[in-house]
Symmetry: C2
Subunit: 189 residues, 2 copies
Amino acid sequence: MPRRALDNPLVLAVLGLLLEHPTHPYQMLTDLRARGGAAINRGTLYDVVEALVAAGWVAPQGTERTGNRPERTVYALTDDGHDELVRRLDSQIRTPRREFTQFLGAVAYLGALGPDGAVDALTERARRLADRIAADADHLAAVLASGVPRLHVIEAEYALAQARAELAWIGSVTEEIRAGSLTFPTRED
Amino acid sequence: MPRRALDNPLVLAVLGLLLEHPTHPYQMLTDLRARGGAAINRGTLYDVVEALVAAGWVAPQGTERTGNRPERTVYALTDDGHDELVRRLDSQIRTPRREFTQFLGAVAYLGALGPDGAVDALTERARRLADRIAADADHLAAVLASGVPRLHVIEAEYALAQARAELAWIGSVTEEIRAGSLTFPTRED
DNA sequence: AATCTATCAGTCGAAAACGACTATTGACGA
DNA sequence: TCGTCAATAGTCGTTTTCGACTGATAGATT
């Protein structure tokens, strides 16, 4: 029984992937990365899978090999694993947690950039974000047009909605800084 | 020179706090927690501060003690630390990164809960989120009314905006699931 | 006065995460 | 056809992060 409760975000991702079909870790990595996942460390993934096996949520399903490549161990979800997946899903959806994104952490000290620096940085972010939103929306539309059920890309819709809200927020603060209605206090408190 | 680039989110938080005034780690912890920060591990904080000292971004400013309590080492931001803070701030604002919140990870497998389970969980999240938004908005208003400059609570405004967008999104998908316009494919692909 | 509890402040061994390293195969251009 | 490059798979030593532990003090309780 591991002391730490396997709270790595990868846990959910791996269980979720295995819900679709058994695979080997390297394949998971490829899939996860394709699904737009943030950079995932390979070593970590193997560690997580090992921990999942120890927890009894996942079980090796035999090995295969192509040519003389290293053996690939294929893993499948166990019944316990399925239960755990549902439990986590449910709890992570039910309970909103305060999450600390890099941007949130940075905005907190926006003052340190001064009004001009802040406007400059925010404007660039807005530009890049807008580009990404456009690209993601296009991609999403293409995927949907190809017949993939909407439910399978629902997280992309959520991400898009959040990105659009962020963009709008950035637009409004930038405008307020420019207009002088959001002032930068000088050091003295 | 550390091999890994000190990319813990705490780094920015600590540098930011020290921008205001020198303190000792325990105090940072209290402040950070009061600022609504997620649960921060004490051991980690001491490790991070140590790493910051090694990086030359922070320097011990002498020690003090109250009664026979353990000595408290007070740290201050160095000039290099100030530069680094600005560099990070600027880069983290300029460059949007795909961040993976727990909720995003969970929504991706919403299908595993089935339509009823999904609606149930989403509805509860919406309720809790709405409560939190109301509480945070009140708190924000109170703080502003007490004379704190808006810039100092700007990150709370951002968090509120994101939370509101999330709430709206949850409302619309929940409605779509209920209405049957967002269908749950049965296993078979 | 004695005990209980909460807060203060930090240390340190153990667990988790990282990323550099190994080794093989298939594709592509020189 | 030889060499380089990208992709395939996984291992393992090092770093980072965690959280249980120590131990002291001030205030509340019996």
